[in-house]
């Protein structure tokens, strides 16, 4: 593509290109050394962060609320084994023996960082025993499991709120063994796999020992692990195809193996350099950052292709190798620099994000884009000059045939520009109208597609046992020891019952239920006494008695604070959309305000709550990011086009694609998540290239060639139309491949970016020319005297 903004003094660029070729070995050596230096950054302790927590900045209020809650009780993650009886039900001797085996101190308790193991068998059931209260495992190891014992176990389990829909459900075929772990959080890279390896080994041993019982794994540790597993999987399904496709496209466009290999080297330098710089910046790898190589490759390939295509076209016009290279650099230097800078600015806008991995992603890709520019300008010509390319004059006659399509298009646009303009406005308005209908949705289970074991098992648990989402309240009492007040406990009980009436709620866990059970036990298991004890002293002493009877690891410290002045209420929900979940949480908080004493008014916290707010927070912060990108890029354009008027005009075709893209997204999916908040700012830097090229050609036709609006549009189409189609296809293909990621944040980002890029081409081919022709014609008619001083007078 031979873009060259007018009035550029190219002498210093020519000299630069000459030097790069003269000292080519030095340039190549310097490139290799610099890339090596960048890569040395990876030795600065770069790790792969596999925790859902990384998506939240330290000042995120929902994260702080959750940390505060964990500080009061225990800082926990969990692994849930889900066991399914192949035949019969779980209330059979053989099955319960299997549950005992798994939850034995020599098995699940041996998983690294384990703090407690909860199963139907070790549930600390309390029963009246004459005048005494007897606390023991629901399925004691030495119990003979005959018919009546099994029936009693089933009865107790199904009537126990702490078990029902948590570790068992009504169907009697599935049960959970929940392992609570406290990861030290010193090194995610090793801690999570350490736990997961042990979990898998135990599951395998279980499967061999009990072949009739299905075993699955879910829980927060498995979620954390899924971040790295999906990234590993994507290396095969995203990165490899990406390499293959990009090299195929380059080979087809360039029709030269040597040139393709050289461009490939530029890509590798860009990716390695950027990933290495990530280490110098002090970032760590994470699932979102794994999309950086694919993005860099997609964005960087255009630089090399532009320079090489011009080089070959110069060769065909009879120039020798050296002259062709210098001419190509001269022609492409500024446009490639401009597009690289705008792209980088777009990605840098991600620094406004509330979610650190996306800030890192933006910075790493921006770095890669700038490295690609430098490598294309210096390294590429230096290497190409080593290879024997000869001038081969050829008649380039098929260019004519290509441009006929564009001629027809510009003729049609000219004839019906008002209809096109009106149509465009209608489409933009319609799709824009759809945008507010997008629901923000961050259901973390659905971050992973069905090809991953984590998703399959989490879905199974969701359908067959319990919910994977929960939120928690740390509800304070009036004073130290106040959790034993009947008023406090009764309010807790009513709060729990209120939640239980909601169809989205699966299970509610509260100490109030334990109190009711103890009161019943103390009255000979009379169901009439299944209620909160009448006095504070009674409740306190029941609880003391119960605590005295609990074995290692199964204490109440995860539910009651040390001062006995607050307890934890956990609400488990179905995997409902974020919007529904937020409304449930809001209603719960409102219930407390309306029905509980003031000291009990608190807000919910949990990872689920954190994700429920993350999209909204990021959209707000990214509005600023997008504004920054629009401002910076408009200034760049006004300078590049040397016209404030056209710089401002270019805003239209640059902003419209994002509007169209989100509108289409709304129609396609109806929901969006965290990563899509970045897309508007980020794509702006990419789509701006199309309009820059189109406008600069249009302006050159008007200023230098003195063409009228229509003819200038035709000229712009002819000169850059094909190149824009090719680069758009290239970008769309690259981001579509990213759309294949098994990690939804990455795949959605890829898909929406591809859509926006295609929309940008359409806007630049329809809306922009229609706009230009209408505006410039009207202006000429109405006020021919108000010409911009630097614009060449128009003669039709």
């Amino acid at each position: 593509m031979n873009t060259r903004p007018a009035k550029e003094d190219p002498n210093w660029i020519v000299r630069l290109a000459e030097q790069a070729i003269r000292y080519r070995w030095a340039v190549i050596l310097a490139t290799v050394i610099l890339t090596g230096l960048a890569l040395a950054g990876l030795r600065n302790g770069v790790t792969f962060e596999t925790s859902y927590r990384i998506f939240f900045a330290g000042d995120n209020p929902q994260l702080q609320a959750f940390d505060a809650l964990q500080n009061i009780y225990t800082k926990d993650d969990n692994v849930m084994f889900i066991l399914t009886a192949g035949k019969d039900s779980i209330y059979e001797e053989e099955f319960l023996e299997a549950v005992q085996w798994l939850s034995h101190r020599d098995r699940a308790w041996q998983i690294p960082y384990t703090r407690r193991v909860d199963s139907i068998s070790n549930f600390q059931n309390s029963v009246a025993d004459g005048d005494d209260i007897f606390v023991n495992d629901l399925v004691p190891e030495d119990l003979k499991l005959d018919e009546s014992a099994l029936a009693a176990i089933r009865r107790s389990a199904e009537s126990e709120p702490a078990l029902f829909n948590r570790l068992i459900n009504g169907d009697g075929y599935t049960t959970g063994v929940n392992v609570t772990v406290s990861l030290p959080g010193v090194n995610d890279m090793t801690e999570v796999p350490e736990v997961v390896n042990e979990v898998r080994a135990l599951a395998d041993e279980f499967a061999i020992r009990y072949p009739d019982i299905e075993i699955r794994k879910a829980g927060m540790v498995m979620l954390n692990n899924a971040f790295s597993e999906s990234s590993l999987k994507d290396m095969g399904t995203v990165m490899m195809p990406m390499f293959v496709v990009i090299f195929l496209i380059m080979a087809i466009l360039l029709r030269s193996i040597l040139a393709t290999a050289t461009a490939g080297a530029v890509l590798m330098i860009s990716i390695l350099g950027a990933m290495g710089m990530m280490g110098w910046y002090g970032f760590n790898l994470s699932a979102p950052l794994m999309s950086a190589p694919t993005m860099i490759m997609t964005l960087a390939v255009a630089d090399s292709v532009h320079i090489l295509v011009t080089f070959f076209s110069e060769l065909r016009q009879g120039r020798d190798k050296r002259a062709a290279l210098i001419e190509s650099v001269r022609i492409n230097f500024t446009p490639v620099l401009l597009t690289s800078i705008t792209t980088a600015v777009g990605f840098l806008s991600m620094n406004f994000s509330d979610s650190p991995p996306f800030r890192y992603l933006g910075n790493v890709v921006a770095t890669g884009v700038m490295i690609a520019w430098a490598a294309s300008i210096f390294f590429l010509p230096a290497v190409m000059s080593l290879f024997p390319f000869r001038a081969k004059a050829k008649a380039a006659d098929h260019a004519k045939a290509d441009s006929s399509v564009f001629d027809a298009l510009s003729a049609l646009l000219s004839r019906r520009r008002h209809s096109f303009l009106a149509g465009s406005i209608a489409v933009v308005a319609f799709l824009g109208f759809l945008i507010p209908r997008i629901d923000l949705n961050d259901q973390w289970v659905q971050y992973f597609d069905e090809s991953l074991e984590f998703r399959q098992h989490a879905d199974y648990a969701e359908e067959n046992l319990t919910g994977m989402n929960n939120f928690e309240f740390s509800i304070p009492a009036a004073e130290s020891g106040g959790i034993n007040e009947p008023e406090y406990l009764r309010t807790l009980g009513r709060f729990a019952d209120w939640f239980r009436d909601d169809p989205d709620v699966v299970q509610v866990n509260t100490i109030a239920d334990t109190m009711k059970r103890l009161n019943r036990n103390m009255h000979g298991d009379d169901p009439a006494y299944y209620r909160i004890p009448d006095s504070r002293e009674l409740a306190a002493q029941y609880l003391l008695l119960y605590e005295f009877s609990l074995p290692y690891g199964l204490d109440l410290n995860n539910q009651v604070n040390v001062d006995k002045s607050a307890t934890r209420v956990t609400i488990t929900t179905r995997d409902v959309p974020t919007k529904q979940l937020r409304s449930l949480i809001d209603k719960g908080e409102l219930w407390l305000e309306e029905n509980a004493p003031e000291y009990m008014h608190v807000r919910a916290a949990s990872p689920t709550v954190m994700f429920a707010h993350i999209s909204e927070r990021n959209i707000k912060s990214m509005l600023w990011g997008t504004f920054f990108a629009v401002l910076a890029i408009s200034i760049l354009l006004a300078i590049a086009l040397r016209s404030l008027r056209y710089g401002l005009l270019s805003l239209i075709p640059n902003i419209v694609p994002a509007v169209l893209g989100f509108g289409i997204w709304s129609a396609l999916y109806g929901e969006m998540g965290l990563s899509l908040a970045m897309v508007s700012g980020m794509t702006l830097g990419i789509v701006v290239d199309d309009s820059v090229h189109f406008l600069s050609k249009y302006l050159r036709a008007r200023r230098e060639k003195g063409l009228g609006g229509e003819a200038a549009v035709r000229y712009a189409f002819r000169t850059v139309g094909k190149a824009l189609v090719v680069t758009t296809l290239l970008l769309a293909v690259g981001f579509s491949i990213l759309g294949l990621s098994s990690f939804r944040m990455n795949s959605w980002m890829g898909q929406l970016t591809a859509i926006v890029i295609v929309m940008a081409l359409i806007a630049d081919f329809i809306l922009l020319p229609a706009l230009l022709m209408s505006l410039d014609r009207r202006r000429k008619k109405r006020a021919p005297q108000v010409e911009a001083p630097d614009e060449v007078p128009v003669h039709v």
């Binding site: 800082k75 101190r105 306190a540 605590e547 074995p551 290692y552 690891g553």
Partner: protein
């Protein structure tokens, strides 16, 4: 002269043999020997009473206090009898906990609940749970009978400026929450100075440090302060002992179920 020299040589030989014999004993035997010596040095105190303040702290630094009085009766040939009377928090004031430790087999435990005015027996297989929500398990506080563990001498080490034996001990009871404990006994007085507790997966769970030992009746050492830190949760519990009194003349009747009701 001659006989004296001979006698001296014989003495030297004997002590050499003794040292050699000591060296030849297995680490298990040595560990048991140290535990027995520590137990022997604490035998014969008869009874004691002391006030106890328990300070519980979470990772956040929020704390909560419990106050209780603890009476102990030494029982020859079996484990001690202990009566704990709760004074604070006020909701459990008057609650009393009675336990008979046994050298072999599970202990007997009862709890008196004043709000119900009833004595309730506690299922004794759960000795590994936290004692009133603290970082101490019942098994950490109950009397440390020699028979409750098997032992293994590890090494000598200087701890806090004192020469110590480091001994590992392994709970006999499968219901224990620990796989092992590492105890630092000072060589001078055979007092426990520090204990590391390892959980069921043999990861370091807690560390207990004994501070400010005082000697009573010219013989029996008691720490004024015991600090337990849970490494896995960041929580801690400090025990502060006050007003130790020995020789109260307690009898079995002061430690029966009836005595639970009126311990003041």
């Amino acid at each position: 002269m001659k006989t004296k020299t001979r006698r001296f040589l014989a003495f030297q030989l004997a002590s050499l043999l003794a040292v050699a014999g000591f060296a030849q004993s297995t680490p298990e035997e040595r560990g048991l020997e140290i535990a027995r010596e520590a137990d022997a040095r604490d035998t014969g105190f008869g009874d004691s009473v002391a006030e106890l303040e328990m300070v519980l702290q979470n990772r956040h630094g929020e704390s909560s206090n419990r106050e209780m009085k603890m009476k102990t009766l030494e029982v020859s040939g079996d484990g001690d009898k202990t009566l704990i009377h709760f004074d604070r928090p006020r909701d459990v004031k008057g609650t009393a906990f009675l336990s008979f430790t046994h050298r072999v087999g599970p202990d007997d435990q009862w709890l008196y609940l004043p709000a119900l005015s009833r004595v309730k027996r506690i299922s004794s297989n759960n000795k590994s749970g936290p004692f009133v929500g603290s970082e101490f398990a019942y098994e950490d506080l109950s009397s440390q009978e020699v028979e409750k563990y098997t032992y293994r001498y590890i090494r000598d080490e200087v701890y806090e400026g004192q020469d110590c034996f480091v001994v590992e001990r392994y709970p006999v009871d499968p219901k224990s929450g620990y796989t092992r404990q590492v105890v630092w006994f000072d060589k001078q007085e055979y007092r426990s100075l520090k204990i590391d507790f390892y959980d069921r997966k043999d990861a370091l769970l807690k560390t207990l440090v004994f501070l400010d030992y005082q000697q009573y009746l010219n013989r029996y050492w008691r720490a004024d302060r015991m600090e337990m830190v849970n490494h896995q949760t960041g929580k801690r519990t400090d025990l502060i002992w006050k007003n130790y009194v020995f020789g109260n003349g307690f009898t079995e009747r002061d430690f029966d179920q009836r005595s639970l009701r009126n311990t003041r």
